[in-house]
Symmetry: C2
Subunit: 140 residues, 2 copies
DNA sequence: AATTACCCTACCTATTTGGTAGGATATTTG
DNA sequence: CAAATATCCTACCAAATAGGTAGGGTAATT
């Protein structure tokens, strides 16, 4: 399951997508509109900025906004930034690979199954982008 | 990611599949062969038994064994027993559904995406069974 | 210079995860 | 029946992670 943090991240990103091209949005606005604890949200947005998804502007009239086009950032990459691995086992993770100390990957039934799961999952998550989060209207 | 507990469960089940139809297997044997802490393994196997995956026999000559045919138990069901939900969000879980308090499911881009992920994941995990864990040889 | 608003470090609490201890219970065998 | 075997059950514990808070520092406007 996605962490609460990741869910907050997606809620915040949804807001930013809906306001794309309307200039920087205050953390406090996102916090209020989406009911996300302010200080917690602050470091989520910072993390997304450091990873290159968001850009920020300081001082009056500042805030956060989506760096490039929403269609350029995949849902998969957001999950990796906030929660880490998407795969169900370290030994089948593309971005966070770790060798299994207790199985021989070429002769492990589970390994094979989990590779299939990973591929099926990524087929969706790498295709969908921030653009797909847009709602058109301002729900909660 | 799957928990350590789930990974232990699959290692143990692999052993039991390989010994299918050879009678009950001692917890202590599985523990030794698969290097799983004995007491921890004990309650994993018990849980799988209570869920109807395994059967046990007490006293001398006792142990654990797979209840019905290995092909009857899906990988998905094992994950649900040991780790709980497979879906990435509670609001798209088939077996552990919980309403999202912060979004309208009909108008939530993320909800839709996560339904697709769930379907893609389950297409694999509901098709594969314990039978697919069999290795033929005794690794580790 | 004052204000605004993001940036950074540190900290705190509750829950979950991973694991252990010890005895109770049921079954088989002599 | 008694002894041995092996699962079953309850309780506990420590470390890690998740979720959240506090407070001041820094940069950019006006």
């Amino acid at each position: 399951m996605l962490s609460q943090k990741a869910q907050y991240a997606f809620r915040a990103l949804t807001h930013l997508v809906n306001k794309y091209n309307e200039g920087p949005v205050l953390i406090s606005e996102i916090s209020k509109k989406k009911r996300i604890p302010l200080k917690f949200l602050e470091n989520i947005l910072l993390q997304l900025k450091n990873a290159g998804v968001l850009e920020s502007k300081k001082g009056k009239g500042g805030g956060y906004y989506i760096k490039s086009s929403p269609a350029k950032t995949t849902i998969a990459s957001v999950i990796r930034i906030v929660d880490g691995p998407i795969a169900l086992l370290p030994c089948v993770s593309l971005n966070f690979y770790e060798r299994c100390k207790n199985c021989d990957e070429r002769n492990c039934g589970l390994h094979n199954i989990m590779e299939n799961v990973r591929d099926a999952t990524l087929a969706v998550l790498e295709k969908r982008t921030l653009k797909d989060l847009a709602t058109g209207r301002e729900d909660l």
